[in-house]
Structures are given as structure tokens and as C-alpha cells.
Amino acid sequence: MTTAPAEAEAPAASTGSGEARAPRRISFNPRQSGIYVAFALIVVLFTVLTGGALLEPQNISNIIVQNSYVLILAIGMILIIIAGHIDLSAGSVVALTGAISAVLMVNLHVPWPLAVVLTLVAGAAIGAWQGYWVAYFGIPAFIVTLAGMLAFRALTLTVLGNQGIGPFPDPIRTLANGFTDGYLGNVGLGPLGGADLVSLLAGVVAVAGMTFTQWRKRAARAGYLQEVDPLGLFVLKLAGAAALVLAVVVQLARFKNLPWVLVLLTALVVGYSLLTTRAVFGRHIYAVGGNLQAATLSGVKVKSVTFWIFVNMGVLAALAGVIFAGRLNQAGPTAGVNFELDAIAAAFIGGAAVQGGVGKVVGAITGGLIMAVINNGMSLIGAPSERVMLVKGLVLLAAVVYDVWTKRRAGRAS
């Protein structure tokens, strides 16, 4: 979960013309880095307020498991928001796909792997339905997905026959709630006690992979004569990221090993980060959201891009639906209520722009984690739920105000 945070650029050679703008160093971009600083501060704040309970092994595990489905939705949502659209139906789709998976596995006894695939296909079909109206018919996504929010909730009730369906087969429950097995047993970590070796190895592999890719990227940059961070700073950044990953992994290893959803989530974040930054398709999403007409006139197939991000959202919502149902061990009619709002909030806290064209997968995940930590931390100190909602609302507003404020300041300076 690391990206190169900011890229330093050599200032333009002074050309002596009035047209040259101020050579601004981009070593620290407050608009993009602010979110990570805010996350760190919030973690520190709640660690202090909870007397360290926030970072207890079991609590870290809880935060991840309890919020995995919203984080998965946030990944799909950020793509849609980057493209300049919105999806209000995600929560209802979570409920409907959860219900479909329950009917398949519990009522029809379809083997669980097939049932999961069929559920994802159903999610894709739902996404295709909405994407068709948005992309090819030009109906605003707000309207299409508002209609979807109502319609898919209604279909959920129909599918379930107004009652919860469960229990789910064990593998699904393990995926949603369970942990990797201690295949290699425990090792002692001195004062920290015993920890699962497999989890620790996974952490070490992750850090090694991260180091390798960052090093290669830096070498490639240098090879192309681009400016790179000085070696000391580079090592410092990498060491910081590695320490963070290892700290989380050690805490998890001391509890019950790695949650399966964390493994899944890590794969999704890495995959979608690559998709958005390096794939042609990902670039086209930014192009469509940044300026639809310019994208059209640059040969981007804007309708197809819009269609496929909605299909993608449907699939991710179906995945979240299965995980949520598996976690509760029951598909219920009220599943996923307001999930879409949490996902949208995560995207905007994570730095997405309301007008589209701007946003990052890692940003949306960080935004989701900020809300997760606020939720968790406030409940640990016994704050009533209405106060949690109030704080979350204010954090969302503050994040967007900050974004607009930094943008305006940048605009004035130019």
C-alpha cells in the first residue's frame, strides 16, 4: 500500500520571459499528502484517548474485518467518482447479491465456489444494467442509481421472501470472518509473546516486494534521467513504510494470524492501484472525468469506459455482499443500508474531487480507514453512536473544505 508520495522536479530553466510561472517545488503536495498526515494524527489521537487499546492486536484485526466490505465498495466507488459519476445503489446491491448468494448456497445447495462466481456474475449484470443507462442513454448516474437503490432493495425483499436466509457454508464464513491457519506454528517474539510464523513471513515478503518494486522504479526513473529522491530520503521513506507494515503484521500475528479479508483487500488495492495508474483503461477513467469532451476528441471510447466502471462496481458490490452476508452468517433484508454513503464519504475524504478527474485508490482506502478508526476509537471510549455520526459528518465536510481551500490557494498563486 505504498505509492511514490511526491515527485520532485527540477525547476524550469529561467527563460527570462514574463510567461514563466513561479518555479514551484513539488516536494510536498499538501493536497495529496494531507490525507495521510490526517490519518496518522487520528490514529495517534485515539491511541492516546483509548490508552493504547486502539492498537491492541485484536482491535486492529476487528477494524479490518468490520470494515472490509465498505473498503471494497470504496475501491469501486472511487473509480466511478473519478469518472465524474456517483453510485447510490451500492448498499442495495450488497443486500441483493448477498441474498442471491444465500439462496444459491443455502436453499439450492449450489457448491460454494460456483455460487460465489454466479453471485459475482449477477453483480456484473446489475452493474451492466446501470452502466447501460448512464453510458449509452445519457441518464445522470445520480438518477439511475437512486432508482437502483430503491429497485434492488425491493428485489432483495422478493428474493428473500421477507426473511433472513442462513447459515452459510464454512468456507464463506472463513473468508468473511476467519484467519489464515498457523501452518508453521508460532515463534516467540520476546516480550511480545508468541506470534504466527506464516503471518510474519507474509509481512516480510510484502516488505521485500515493496522494497524491490520501489527500488526498481527508482532505478528506472534515474535511467530515464528523471529526478529522484536522494538515496537517504528514499531509504528513510521505505524504512518508514516497512516499519508500518511490519508493526501491523506483528500485531495481527500475535492475535489470530492474518484475516482472509485483509489478504483479499491487499490484493484488490495493489491490483486497482496498478489499474488506475498504469493501465490504459485506468488512464481513460481519469481522462473521462477530467474533461469528457477532450477525452472524446482524443479518441477515448468514453461510453465504453463509463459502462465498464459500473460493471466493475457491480462485481465489487457483489463481493462485498458475499462477505457481509458471510460475516453475519445470514443474508438479511436490511443488509448494506447506507454502505454507499460510507463508500462515497471514504472517496471524498480520500481526496477525490466532486467534479471528477481526481482521486486515488489508496486515498479512498485511507479515507475509509479514517472513518473506521473514528468509529472504532469512539466506541472504545464509550461515545454514543449519535456523537460518532456527528464527528464523521464533520470530518467529511472538513476534508472537502480542506481540498477546496488548498485548490483555491493554488489558484490564487498562479
Binding site: 515527485e7 518555479p23 513539488i26 526513473r221 498504469r278 490504459v280 482524443s298 479518441g299 478527474g357 490564487r412
Partner: protein, 509 residues
């Protein structure tokens, strides 16, 4: 006591890292039309924002006196109360509201909180008569053309009892008729005692209308010239603006013509808005490798419509005709097809159709040619960075780096990014629609050099421009378009402004 209505003295305005204005002086005499010109980024707009209170008193150094009294405006409202009204390049009208509502927006003719519609429409009618606009005051502004909208803005200014009218590039988006009308109106207002400051790139207009001229360069006042004598020529003004003598506004170029690369045959395009109305009628054009061809025409002649319909049917319905590329007929149904067949079209409206303003230079440069940088759907970012850096260097794009956001660049540099984007697709034919609109003289020269080098590289360039001197200075051959028809074709040797204008205004049944 003094003839000066406005005096700005020692104005210095600093932004983080930049001195936008440095000890600028501007004195405007009562009742004159005073032009302000300078290259993009010279500080004209900043100066006007200081004057009108967009930048409040205290955020700059220096003194402003208006009508003999010192001014310390905290907001735009303060300056408007004193009779200083600014009309920005991008008009600030609400398209869905009526002309009358727009004129009195924020200044409503109301009695005890309720709008007095009779008075509103009646007074609006009188103001419209003053600016020579014959429309019903209840017409929605969206139904008017840009030229008429400009007049509505002026009517709005008059409603505020304006003493100093500031116009920022008022004719940039207007055709010749509308421009002429606007200039006449300004002369009329001068008779009525309204003082105007006009910011313009169009030197012939300045020469035609202004009494005096202040030239800014690099945030400083260079000089103030008295134009009433009529002895100050365009070349004199240009040399003041660029700080060097521009003997030639166009770089020299010897064409090296090759084979015919694109032929457009019997091309007819219908308007998507009005069914059955043809906007391009049976046009025939031919372009050779290494050739720079001009397309001249008045507003509404169908120039952009012709270009965009050829470029992957981006405009129009019911398109008929043939495209022949390198001797073979090609079928171009989408922008993707057009790019694959080696066509490129750089739009006249770079902010709306050309650039992703929230993205950096790098990603804008690669936007149309991303496929060239990708293997199996994955982009080589390092190569992309190299390509963009190369364009930044070769085209002299002034920005801190290729990661600078294009929305923060000046017009000339944005235009270079648009050109870089299309050059990177390595086209055989480039259609450049108003490639120098709204950019300063120095950057224009650079754009002309780029166009020449494209022709030297064996590409055909079709230049659409409203500025006839530009077409005459740049093109090897010029087509004239009138009401959707090609009405004339002139070689470089034959072409004059008069002959072109003759064809451009020719109506064929």
C-alpha cells in the same frame, strides 16, 4: 483639478514566489478610451483585479486614486459603488435568466423586496436601446449569440451608472461585424462621457479606437503612448510588447511539397440541432505532404464543422462525401479511426475540448497517443515522462516540469501542450483550429515555427483562422469558405486580404 480620472501609482503585487506587478503606473484621462496591452502573463489581468478590488486593499502596495480621491477597495462591490465596472473575457451571465433579469442581477428594481417587473423590463429596454441591441428584454440570454451577450454585459454595466468601464479582451470571441459594432458602441459611450479601459490582443482594434495605450511587460509599465496623432504603427506597439523588434511576425519558410495526402470530396454535413440544415455543402479540399493550407471563413461559415466532421464524425449528422488518403478511400467513423488513419484535430477551444485541466502536462501530452506508450494495456510511465519532457524542451513549454497541472499554464503554453498531444500521435494530416487564439505575440511566433517544422517533416497542415494576416503569412494555399461552400482557392502569391474577404462574403445559391 486634474484631467486624470484614474491614477494608479507604484502598484506592486506579489504572489508566493512571483512578483506579478512591480511598480506599475497607469493614468487614464477622463473621457478617453485607454488600451492596455502586453503579452500573456505581463500582468494586465492582475492589474485590473487590483483596480476592481478582487485583490483587496492591503494585499498590494501602491496607491490608487479615482476621480481625485484615494481608493481602498475591500471588495468588488466597493469599486462598483464608485462606478468602476469590469467585464471579464468569460462572460458572467446566467444563461437561463432573461436579458432584463441579467441586467439587474444583484441590483434588482424592487419595491419592498418584490421585483417590479414592469420597471425592470422597461428600464432594460431603454438600456438595450442605448447599446443598440434590438431584442426583447424577456428573451433568455442563452438564446443570444456571444456578440449580443457582450452587449448585455455592457447594458448591465450602464445600469450601474458606470464611470470607468473595463473590458478584458472584449472582441476575442466576436466575429468582425459584432466587433465593429462593439467598437462603435465604445465610441458612442465616449461621447456620453464614459471612460473605458480596453485590454486587447488585437492591435488593429487598438489603433482604430484607443486614444492612448499603456504597454505592460513582465509586470512593469513599459510606456504609455498617445495614439491620437495616428503616427504609432502596429510594429511599434509589438516591439514595445515583446521588447524586441519583430521585423517579421512570421518565421520564414520554404515549402517542400510532396504527393497529395488527403482529399476531401463532395463533403456535406448537416446540423444536429436543426434537422435538414446543411452547414457544409459539397466541399472539396486537397492537401499535399509538406503543405500548409489555410481555411478562411467568417463566423458561421462552417469551418470548425467541416474540420470536426472529417475528424471521426465528431460533429454533425447525415454526413456524406468521400475521404481519400494517400490515394485510397478511407472510412472514418470515430475519433479512433481518424487517429489510426493519421488525422489529428487541435480544437479552437482548448479549455473545453482540448485539455484535461486537472491533469498534468505529461498525461495531457500522452492522452491521444497512449497506445504508443502501452504494451498489452499497460502504460510505460517512464517512457511517457521522457516523451513529455522532450516535448516540453523542444516546444519551450514554460512550466516547472511535466508534472505541472495544465490548468495553471498560460494560454500559449496550454496551446503548445495541445499541439504536443497531437504531434505525438505522429499524424500525416494536422487540422489546427484557431491555433493562436488568445495567445500573445511571442508565443504565436513559436507556434508558427512549430507549424513550419511540421510541414518540413512531410506532414500536411490545415490551419483554420479568423485572422487573415495570419493565414497570409503562414499558408502556401488558402481556401475560402462561405455558408458551407468552398467559394475560392488562392495560392500564396495570389492571396490578399481583400481577395479573401471577397470570397468569404460571396453567397452562392
Amino acid at each position: 483639478m486634474t484631467a486624470d480620472l484614474l491614477r494608479m501609482r507604484g502598484i506592486t503585487k506579489t504572489f508566493p514566489g512571483v512578483k506579478a506587478l512591480q511598480d506599475v503606473h497607469l493614468s487614464v484621462r477622463r473621457g478617453e478610451i485607454h488600451a492596455v496591452c502586453g503579452e500573456n502573463g505581463a500582468g494586465k489581468s492582475t492589474l485590473m483585479k487590483v483596480l476592481s478590488g478582487v485583490y483587496p486593499h492591503g494585499s498590494y502596495e501602491g496607491e490608487i486614486s479615482f476621480g481625485g480621491e484615494p481608493c481602498e477597495f475591500a471588495t468588488v462591490r466597493d469599486s462598483e459603488r464608485r462606478g468602476i465596472v469590469i467585464i471579464h473575457q468569460e462572460l458572467a451571465l446566467c444563461p437561463r435568466l432573461s436579458v432584463a433579469e441579467n441586467i439587474f442581477l444583484g441590483n434588482e428594481r424592487a419595491k419592498s423586496g418584490l421585483v417590479d417587473w414592469n420597471r425592470t423590463n422597461h428600464e432594460a429596454g431603454e438600456l438595450l436601446r442605448r447599446v443598440g441591441l434590438r431584442v426583447n428584454p424577456v428573451t433568455p440570454v442563452a438564446d443570444l449569440g456571444v456578440g449580443k451577450q457582450q452587449l448585455v454585459e455592457i447594458a448591465k454595466a450602464l445600469s450601474k451608472e458606470v464611470r470607468l468601464l473595463i473590458l478584458d479582451e472584449p472582441t476575442a470571441a466576436l466575429n468582425d461585424d459584432d466587433s465593429a459594432h462593439l467598437l462603435d458602441l465604445l465610441r458612442g459611450l465616449r461621447e456620453e462621457g464614459v471612460t473605458s479601459v480596453i485590454i486587447s490582443h488585437k492591435l488593429n482594434e487598438i489603433a482604430a479606437i484607443a486614444d492612448s495605450l499603456t504597454i505592460l511587460r513582465d509586470g512593469r509599465t513599459i510606456e504609455t503612448l498617445d495614439l491620437r496623432s495616428g503616427h504609432v504603427g502596429e510594429d511599434r506597439i509589438i516591439s514595445g510588447m515583446v521588447g524586441r523588434d519583430l521585423e517579421h511576425r512570421f518565421p520564414p519558410h520554404e515549402p517542400d511539397l510532396g504527393e497529395e495526402v488527403l482529399r476531401i470530396e463532395d463533403w456535406t454535413v448537416h446540423s444536429p440541432a436543426q434537422r435538414g440544415r446543411a452547414v457544409v455543402r459539397g466541399a472539396n479540399l486537397s492537401l499535399r505532404r509538406g503543405e500548409i493550407v489555410g481555411l478562411a471563413g467568417l463566423m458561421g461559415a462552417g469551418r470548425t464543422e467541416l474540420a470536426m466532421s472529417v475528424f471521426g464524425r465528431s460533429y454533425g449528422t447525415d454526413i456524406s462525401g468521400r475521404l481519400v488518403k494517400d490515394g485510397r478511400e478511407i472510412d472514418v467513423r470515430s475519433v479512433g479511426d481518424a487517429i489510426r488513419h493519421g488525422l489529428a484535430y487541435a480544437t479552437e477551444d482548448r479549455k473545453r475540448y482540448g485539455l484535461n485541466l486537472v491533469e498534468d502536462i505529461k498525461r495531457n501530452v500522452s492522452a491521444a497517443g497512449l497506445g504508443k506508450l502501452a504494451r498489452r494495456g499497460w502504460v510505460n510511465e517512464h517512457e511517457e515522462h521522457r516523451v513529455a519532457s522532450e516535448f516540453r524542451r523542444s516546444m519551450n513549454i514554460k512550466a516547472p516540469g511535466v508534472l505541472s497541472v495544465t490548468g495553471e499554464l498560460s494560454g500559449g503554453n496550454q496551446q503548445k501542450v495541445v499541439l504536443a498531444k497531437w504531434i505525438f500521435t505522429d499524424p500525416d494530416v494536422l487540422i489546427l483550429d484557431e491555433p493562436t487564439r488568445g495567445i500573445d505575440v511571442g508565443a504565436k511566433y513559436e507556434i508558427y515555427s512549430i507549424i513550419n517544422s511540421l510541414a518540413d517533416a512531410g506532414k500536411a497542415v490545415l490551419v483554420i483562422s479568423s485572422e487573415l494576416p495570419e493565414l497570409l503569412g503562414l499558408c502556401d494555399r488558402i481556401y475560402a469558405l462561405s455558408a458551407g461552400r468552398i467559394t475560392g482557392e488562392l495560392t500564396r502569391a495570389e492571396a490578399t486580404q481583400e481577395r479573401l474577404m471577397h470570397y468569404m462574403t460571396q453567397e452562392q445559391g
